[in-house]
């Protein structure tokens, strides 16, 4: 996605900031500067109200009661599915399955495919920059089934070496499971190229969109992948919920791996007939308030449009990258002028923990460590990095303050 292709819509950051009550907080006596959006974003009042109103006025279990509240709660829950399906341009809202989040969704995909497609000795392709959540389920399967994980290597600039994929593929390869955006580097995976390879070799394509859904417009009908998963809490929504999108053919084909109440048509002790559509994959009482809050978050973003959000955050990323590059001690990873709102860096001869601890004293929240991407850290030969990640409410003024204090911190640690 290039900036010049985007519609020229400016966000009114000043007005947006008023929607996020937590931005009024002081940390160590300083105004909070929240640059840890990759871990979780803050929530606008609209989302907080949606959750709170649900509990104050509508709370009831869904899909089963005859009474008014249950009907209203079910309507709100199913309306959320429609809002989210529309946001991602999904043909049938039944293709949107509510889960506990990205990690839960990836486990469901992995377990479902393990019970249907995968055979002993099969191979799965991942990338070098996968989050642990997109490694561990596949690894567990591979360990128990003599399977193998094949890893797409990095280029010198830490982007993925997509030309290497063909060489990783054998007749045993069944799946490519890959992050749309690296949570550590912010680099965007070229899904169009990967899709061509996947289609050519008849591979199932699973996309971990935890870090792309917050930052860019995604048209799932056009993207046309098998599975696409993300978490609400990184897109201004509540924790503990997310989605598993699956293409139409999987909706009836993927085996149920989490059976339970609500997923069925009929049950006897001998035999169960499972429901059609999304309910088949949603056992037990779901996170109703979370899902309703999730839809409120999507509505919140859609009033601005994802293109405007991407453009705003890309400006911040490029501004911060250029300011960081001016500091001689700073080493940037995954540098690119067209990426999602995540920057990783280190300061020469200092440990990321020290930098993060001191920045916190100035009210600046950054992430330090391996960001659940230890294999990537090993490839970069670092114990961890300092990661800053932006959201809709961040500003250049905040970046200026951060750069000023980073210089001071570097001086203190010298």
């Amino acid at each position: 996605m290039l900036v010049k292709e985007l519609k020229h819509i400016e966000l009114n950051t000043e007005a947006i900031r008023k929607d996020f009550p937590i931005l009024n907080r002081k940390i160590n006596g300083m105004p909070l500067i929240y640059f840890d959006n990759g871990a979780t974003s803050q929530k606008p009042q609209q989302v907080i109200d949606a959750v709170s109103n649900y509990y104050s006025n509508t709370n009831s279990n869904i899909h089963r009661g005859v009474h008014t509240l249950s009907r209203e709660a079910t309507e709100a829950f199913e309306n959320a599915r429609k809002v989210i399906a529309k946001h991602f341009n999904v043909k049938s809202d039944q293709q949107i399955i509510f889960t506990a989040g990205t990690t839960d969704s990836l486990n469901m995909v992995c377990n479902g495919l393990a019970r249907s497609v995968l055979k002993q000795g099969d191979e799965i392709i991942l990338s070098s920059y996968e989050h642990h959540s997109n490694i561990l389920p596949w690894q567990l399967w591979a360990q128990e089934n003599k399977g193998q994980l094949k890893v797409i290597p990095l280029n010198a600039d830490q982007s993925l070496d997509l030309n290497a994929i063909e060489n990783l593929i054998s007749e045993k390869t069944k799946i490519i499971s890959i992050a749309h955006v690296s949570n550590t580097l912010g680099l965007i995976t070229d899904l169009d190229k990967i899709k061509i390879i996947a289609k050519k070799h008849n591979l199932i394509l699973v996309v971990d969109a935890a870090q792309s859904a917050p930052h860019m417009a995604v048209d799932l009908e056009k993207l046309d992948v098998d599975f696409y998963v993300c978490s609400a809490h990184k897109i201004y929504g509540p924790t503990g919920t997310g989605i598993l999108y699956m293409s139409e053919k999987w909706l009836s084909k993927l085996p149920v791996t989490k059976p339970g109440g609500g997923t069925i048509k009929t049950v006897s002790f001998e035999k169960t007939e499972y429901a059609d559509g999304a309910l088949r994959f949603e056992p037990g009482t779901p996170n109703i308030s979370g899902v309703i809050g999730f839809a409120a978050a999507i509505n919140y973003m859609d009033q601005f449009g994802m293109d405007a959000i991407y453009k705003h955050e890309l400006e911040l990323v490029n501004y911060a990258q250029s300011k960081l590059a001016e500091i001689p001690q700073v080493m940037l990873y995954g540098k690119s002028n067209d990426k999602a709102a995540v920057i990783s860096f280190n300061v020469k001869n200092t440990h990321p923990f020290d930098v993060g601890t001191l920045l916190d004293k100035y009210g600046i929240a950054v992430r330090t460590g391996h960001h659940c991407t230890q294999p990537l850290m090993n490839l970069l030969c670092v114990p961890g990095t300092i990661r800053i990640s932006f959201a809709i409410y961040n500003t250049k003024t905040e970046i200026d303050f951060f750069i000023e204090k980073l210089k001071k911190v570097i001086d203190m640690l010298k």
Binding site: H351, F353, D354, T357, L358, K361, T368, G369, P383, L413
Partner: protein
């Protein structure tokens, strides 16, 4: 000096900074820098304290009746905390080490490092020092 006396000495040392956290942390960083390095032979997997974002190695031994600690960390602030812990605990008997409440950490305004989410693992460090003291005294 007793553990209590050393703790009081450190509290006095930090008192001059008052609310100036920058001064406090600069002092902590200096303490870290002056700690020196741990012998390579002690930087082994077994001596790594779990729960720290930077690696911390702790070596404990018994000399006469006292427990002697030496340690190192990759992060300088953590190293400063380690230096304080060694200054307070090293060279005392296991009984003294186990019984101390380490009230100085709160008094010098570094209590935030005792929260269970702190990635520097000060809590793990203290537990490990006390555990080692118990083991070595047997």
């Amino acid at each position: 000096m007793s553990i209590k006396e050393i703790e009081n000495e450190i509290v006095e040392e930090f008192e001059i900074f008052g609310d100036d956290w920058e001064g406090k942390y600069e002092h902590l960083i200096d303490l870290g820098k002056n700690l020196g390095t741990l012998k390579e032979e002690y930087k082994i997997e077994n001596n790594i304290i779990q729960g720290c974002q930077s690696r911390v190695w702790l070596h404990s031994e018994k000399k006469d009746n006292n427990i002697i600690f030496s340690a190192e960390s990759e992060a300088i602030i953590t190293k400063g905390m380690v230096a304080l812990m060694i200054r307070v605990l090293s060279g005392h008997t296991a009984k003294e080490i186990i019984e101390t409440k380490l009230e100085f950490i709160d008094k010098i305004g570094l209590k935030e490092h005792l929260s269970p989410t702190r990635a520097n693992g000060l809590v793990s460090m203290i537990n490990r020092m006390k555990m080692d003291a118990i083991t070595l005294s047997k």
